[in-house]
Symmetry: C2
């Protein structure tokens, strides 16, 4: 196709898109709720925010309405990501940036959110359609491309670096709801590079375990500091080549719920955020953990962030601190409510604290129920490739790394 032909084709397609959008709008002229400019705590049947604003009157959150100021990017709209978006939309988040390049199919119907009439639509279009109907106050931006391909990675970086609703700067948080290793490494690199905090999530191929992890560049282990931690299912795997991964709306809904709960706790500043929280459905087991960064991490931006965090900590300018958390917890164990007749108070369970000093992470260093997804010292990874973020030759690198991981 010549350049001129291409341009004509683009013009033609753009016209067709406009026309189809018009038709759709006409079709959809059903009643949709009006936008609400200022959210109120008034207790009325027609106030979609009354039960959220009640979090403030209940003393849980100081200013719930601040939720409207935040921008969150969600990468991956599968069984976890789509539910994460629905929860954040219903909570009244300011802006959501949705990333996915997949199409809705009937095989997705075993998880929450998508419906059979959306089969064939892109996941971002289908999500935006449903979510804007649920809450027209939220601003949506959709990106239908694979973030791991060479060209798109730059666009992805640029989008999360400039997509903030209020500042046109960095988004407030990136959520990883993807099902593969390459995409997680891409998010890790972008967030280390741009110094953006992010949360990781994952569900096992046997559908009975999941985890979430809060990643603060330089403060916690990054995705390349150590092999990924997963919750052992405790069930003997009958893995066969070519067998498709199982999934359940329960495990994925729970993982999405735990992830968004952490997002709310972080953005609205209440409760304690688990840096790692696992879930095993087989035994209802929920291990928590803190994983410190590896001073020999192969990602140079991680090392740079580690130095910056150490400096901020020295200057007392850090808003989060793994050690501070310990102190708070120790203090809290001593607190007894004066109005509580029996002196009962929730105290956190023991939190595993992992300090990574070398690449040879062994399963036996971990608490029960957790395991590394692979042994670091067994991996044949070209360290130079892993180190070089600027190089960004993700495709090739990922081919080497791609395991049967979700």
């Amino acid at each position: 196709m010549s350049q001129q032909q291409s341009e004509e084709r683009i013009k033609q397609l753009e016209e067709e898109v406009a026309s189809l959008k018009n038709q759709l709008q006409n079709q959809q002229q059903k009643v949709i709720r009006e936008k609400i400019s200022v959210i109120s705590s008034e207790v009325k049947d027609d106030n979609p925010y009354s039960r959220l604003m009640a979090l403030s009157s209940m003393g849980i959150v100081k200013n719930y309405e601040k939720i409207r100021e935040f921008t969150v990017a969600v990468v991956g709209l599968g069984g976890v990501g789509a539910v994460v978006c629905e929860m954040l939309t219903r909570c009244g988040i300011g802006k959501l940036i949705l990333f996915d390049f997949d199409i809705v199919s009937l095989a997705n119907m075993n998880r929450l959110f998508f419906t059979p009439d959306q089969v064939g639509m892109t996941k971002v279009d289908a999500s935006k359609e449903t979510l804007s109907k649920i809450n027209p106050d939220v601003v949506f931006e959709t990106c239908s491309y694979n973030i791991t391909s060479l060209d798109n990675f730059d666009t992805f970086m640029n989008t999360i670096n400039t997509g903030n609703l209020l500042t046109n700067g960095k988004v407030d948080l990136v959520l990883s709801c993807v099902d593969n290793f390459e995409a997680r490494v891409a998010i890790n690199r972008a967030c280390n590079e741009l110094n953006i905090r992010w949360m990781e999530s994952g569900v096992s191929e046997d559908a009975v375990s999941g985890h979430i992890q809060f990643m603060v560049p330089g403060l916690t282990a990054c995705y390349e500091c150590a092999p990924p931690l997963v919750v052992a299912s405790g069930v003997k795997q009958v893995k066969r080549e070519g067998v498709c991964a199982a999934s359940l709306p329960t495990t994925m809904g729970i993982t999405a719920g735990l992830l968004v709960q952490s997002v709310l706790k972080y953005l609205l500043r209440f409760g304690k955020i688990s840096y790692y929280l696992g879930y095993s459905a087989i035994n209802d087991y929920f291990p928590t953990m803190k994983v410190r960064p590896n001073p020999q991490c192969s990602n140079p931006m991680c090392l740079k962030r580690q130095t910056e965090i150490a400096k901020l900590k020295e200057e007392g300018l850090l808003d989060l601190d793994l050690d501070e958390e310990d102190k708070e917890q120790a203090d809290e164990k001593k607190i007894v409510h004066t109005e509580n007749e029996w002196g009962i108070e929730i105290v956190a369970d023991e939190v595993e604290d992992i300090d990574i000093h070398s690449h040879a992470h062994r399963h036996e260093d971990l608490s029960h129920g957790l395991e590394y997804q692979y042994e670091h010292h067994n991996k044949k990874v070209d360290e130079k490739e892993l180190v070089n973020v600027e190089n960004q030759d993700l495709d090739e690198l990922m081919k080497q790394l791609n395991e049967s991981m979700m």
Copy 2:
């Protein structure tokens, strides 16, 4: 624009056109998927069961397709119940009986499931509409009445006693997703009377904790054996008269997920079911517990079921056994996978085992983070009223019992 960029733009636009055309077609024709007579494990994009049937190939569940044989009654279609129904529908449950007498309002939009275009519809109608579109293979029966009123209680009993899809007998399980004490007592009485196993769920008024509880008449404590157990939020309550309860899609979605996960584990016989599982969002704390029945329970049908269970146990005919669970757990701690290089295996956390011998349940008998919703010995309840199931004068009784409980 370079040639490569043009080509990408064309590709992107073509996809958008296809997606929009699909949306339009769906809007016009309201395509609904056809019923599927036999579920298959074939890995195809148009098979809505492939990722569920994969649970069998993964070795988690023996016969996933058995799910179609079960009938579950769900009482209450709020932030927990509606999500429970969506999960069970997507899992392909045989039949759902839905109970609720409420109307969808905008104030419900902060939880998953209902959409603004359903405002004004009864919750049972709106649910059936959405759920049959999601999975037309499931059989739905809707009951739009308050189960606690005198007339309706009999109808409710009759419905769960004869609603089974396969046998026209008892349903396989009743799920309590209600937000008040009266309805829970009504479910408890019906299930003790009919000897039907049920699961209780609840979310706190401050939106940051929840719990699920598996009730097996005669084997576990019934809802009247002891004051209800709730998870303390660990946050100082600023309770004011007339303030509406707070709720979050996260806490409710997690509670729904944990409940349906227990349902699947029970019906499809995999994993271990927690008899009581709590969740506190503030600290990501998940206490588990077993509560034994009270030999002085005020509900006579509970006492009758306790005698029956003791007899069945003696004869070795009981399919569930609180003590057997302990033995299994002890055995399992010794198991080391032969193919697991580091010998790591999930073991269950310590499970609190509560034996109720008297009515004077005190907070100090409980593990941290849990508390009774009230002190049993402080309640002024006419024991004769509580005892008499046949009397069924629930309305009056409930007026006495109704606390600010969810």
